[in-house]
């Protein structure tokens, strides 16, 4: 694996985005959600990317407009966009959690230069109407983007971008499936996942295809699963590995959930097929599910299948959807004989001393 390229992108995602836009001469199309279909932004002649949260001690531009308690994901996103040094051609917001929904209004109110277009997905998935609503939502997003940018979506580019982006997600899924057990160490897999948010999709595939030949995961360590919101930086995973955690399974916004979407086959209209795939994903986060128990059971099943001895719930502070599911998940894991712990990430790139102690205690208790 070309770990250096991936590490550079993961450690400096903003630098990577600037370089990518400079190289191609195209502005960036930035999405706030790791399940947003970037191929659509590519097809509007933008450099599609998910804007990852960047851990920093302060966010002067973001904090100037966000007075409420919001997760650092939103604070960081607002700060980066409002700072104004990224060549942004379009901001793609999505429905889902309150913070992401509100971010669009915050940016518009703050007078961000680029158009902000909302992808209005159905509130809940898992019902017969949701797939149709998802397809229509993406079609609506494309209509609004067309009006905002004054140009049409290129269908041929969309089909190519769809295929190349899907290949990238398949490769990432493979890395997560083998993580820790003969595959890569988790820190390298999460480095790839963070880099995947910002890298050019072609460059990403080249780097990922080399992945299985790169370093192998350590044999020792307590087998754990990571669940929760975005991973602020691979450093947090490196910190976990350094104290004896062997991450063998994932359920995070940055990880398997971002990579699991597959384009629905047998639908002629590529926009509708992609729209349907947003709803038909095998894994959803807690923001769009009416039946949280099904998701909790899915996490428990994965933990058991991967023989995880504990689940580390890594949440962004003020990330309500994950915070609300934590009590139920803790209880379900306990019933399955799997220990768990909740860690709150905020502005720190790695583990805080206190969180490190808490994880060490968990590992000690497991023995």
């Amino acid at each position: 694996m070309d770990l250096e390229k991936l590490k550079n992108a993961a450690n400096d995602p903003i630098g990577a985005l600037k370089a990518r836009s400079k190289e191609s001469g195209r502005p960036l199309g930035l999405a706030f959600s790791s399940y947003f279909p970037l191929e659509v932004l590519d097809a509007f002649d933008l450099e599609g990317a998910w804007l990852p949260p960047v851990p920093r001690p302060d966010y002067p531009d973001g904090e100037a407009v966000l007075q409420a308690f919001v997760c650092n994901c939103v604070r960081s996103s607002a700060d980066i966009i409002l700072h104004g040094d990224l060549p942004v051609g379009l901001v793609a917001a999505t429905t889902g959690c309150d913070s992401r929904l509100a971010l669009a209004t915050v940016l518009r109110t703050a007078g961000v230069g680029a158009p902000v277009v909302m992808l209005r997905l159905p509130v809940t998935v898992g019902n017969p109407l949701a797939v149709e609503q998802g397809s229509r939502a993406l079609a609506g997003f494309c209509d609004e983007t067309r009006a905002a940018l004054g140009r049409d979506l290129d269908l041929e580019v969309l089909k190519k971008a769809r295929d190349i982006r899907e290949k990238g997600r398949e490769l990432l899924t493979g890395l997560f499936e083998n993580m820790g057990d003969g595959g890569l160490p988790a820190s390298s897999v999460y480095t790839a996942a963070v880099a995947a948010q910002v890298m050019d999709p072609g460059d990403l595939i080249k780097a990922l295809e080399e992945a299985p030949r790169a370093d192998k995961a350590p044999v020792n360590g307590i087998r754990c699963m990571l669940s929760g919101s975005s991973i602020p930086s691979p450093r947090i995973v490196e910190g976990l590995e350094a104290i004896g955690v062997k991450v063998v399974a994932d359920d995070t916004c940055t990880g398997t959930r971002a990579a699991c979407r597959r384009t629905v086959k047998g639908v002629d209209d590529p926009v509708r097929a992609i729209g349907a795939s947003l709803i038909n994903r095998p894994l959803h986060g807690p923001t769009m599910l009416e039946d949280g128990h099904a998701r909790i059971q899915q996490i428990v099943d994965t933990a058991v299948r991967r023989r995880a001895q504990a689940v580390i719930m890594l949440h962004y502070k003020f990330c309500d959807p994950h915070a609300f599911e934590a009590p139920g998940l803790t209880e379900a894991l306990e019933r399955a004989g799997v220990r768990s712990i909740v860690l709150e990430a905020d502005r720190e790139p790695g583990l805080t001393a206190r969180d490190r102690t808490r994880v060490e205690t968990l590992l000690e208790a497991i023995g």
Binding site: E344, D346, A353, R354, T357, R358, E360, T361, E364, A365
Partner: protein
């Protein structure tokens, strides 16, 4: 076997020397800005009390916030692990351990073998720990050691927000301006910490018998508030500051 346990707490360093399962020496020193120097000072004092030489110590285990700082230790154990082991030695019948130190409050549920079943630690706020009492004592202009006695003289309960130590200090200042009697304010402060600690204990599940350890266990006002809040009695070791160091020394001996 002779072992030593070093508890590098946020405020004080405690050292215990253990010989064949019996505490033969112990000492405490203020952690200050130089933890290693404080450890040396406490270690020498504990050795002197034990009458043993440094060479006779077979193994040293450290615990506490600064557990990685002393270079001479053989191993480390987390505060939770040390508390559990120490309390299991002191009171084998205890199933719930509450430790309220200077900067951290912990609730630990242990089984009959002293193994940690579950635990909770107060997160990024000092409102459930001893530092909160110190800050409030400053606001009340009384010595922190006097807070316990003072609160026992209270005649009325006053609700207080203890979600944030800084905001709580503002609240105390408001109470001062309203001429609220100091004993009532001292009690409100202890009640607030007790509320937070009790919530944390409920998260791990309250199981009798319950023991309280850590420096704040010496504050009789807080102990009264905690007992009332939990509606049960709590066991307090004679020297609650040393439970972690005792536990670390036993962890060294267990290995």
């Amino acid at each position: 076997m002779i072992t030593a346990g070093v508890d590098c707490g946020a405020k004080n360093v405690k050292v215990v020397v253990l010989k064949d399962g019996v505490v033969v020496g112990k000492a405490m020193a203020s952690a200050g800005m130089d933890t290693e120097a404080a450890v040396e000072k406490a270690f020498e004092a504990a050795l002197e009390e034990s009458g043993l030489s440094r060479d006779s110590i077979d193994k040293v285990v450290s615990t506490g916030a600064g557990k990685d700082e002393p270079q001479f230790v053989d191993d480390t154990v987390t505060d939770v692990g040390a508390d559990a082991r120490g309390m299991h030695h002191l009171y084998p019948e205890v199933r719930t351990v509450i430790d309220v130190g200077a900067e951290e409050g912990r609730a630990i549920r242990i089984d009959a073998n002293g193994k940690v079943v579950d635990f909770a630690i107060n997160e990024k706020c000092a409102a459930g720990a001893g530092a909160f009492t110190e800050a409030m004592a400053r606001a009340l202009e009384v010595k922190v050691e006097e807070m316990g006695e003072l609160s026992l003289k209270s005649t009325q309960a006053i609700p207080m927000n203890a979600q944030c130590a800084v905001f709580a200090e503002s609240e105390v200042i408001s109470l001062v301006h309203r001429k609220t009697p100091k004993p009532d304010m001292a009690r409100a402060i202890h009640d607030a910490i007790a509320d937070r600690i009790t919530s944390m204990v409920r998260r791990v599940g309250i199981e009798e018998k319950i023991a309280l350890t850590g420096g704040v266990a010496k504050n009789i006002g807080f102990v009264k508030s905690l007992k009332e809040d939990m509606e049960t009695d709590v066991i307090i070791p004679d020297e609650p500051d040393y439970t972690g160091a005792i536990g670390a020394a036993f962890v060294a001996a267990d290995d």
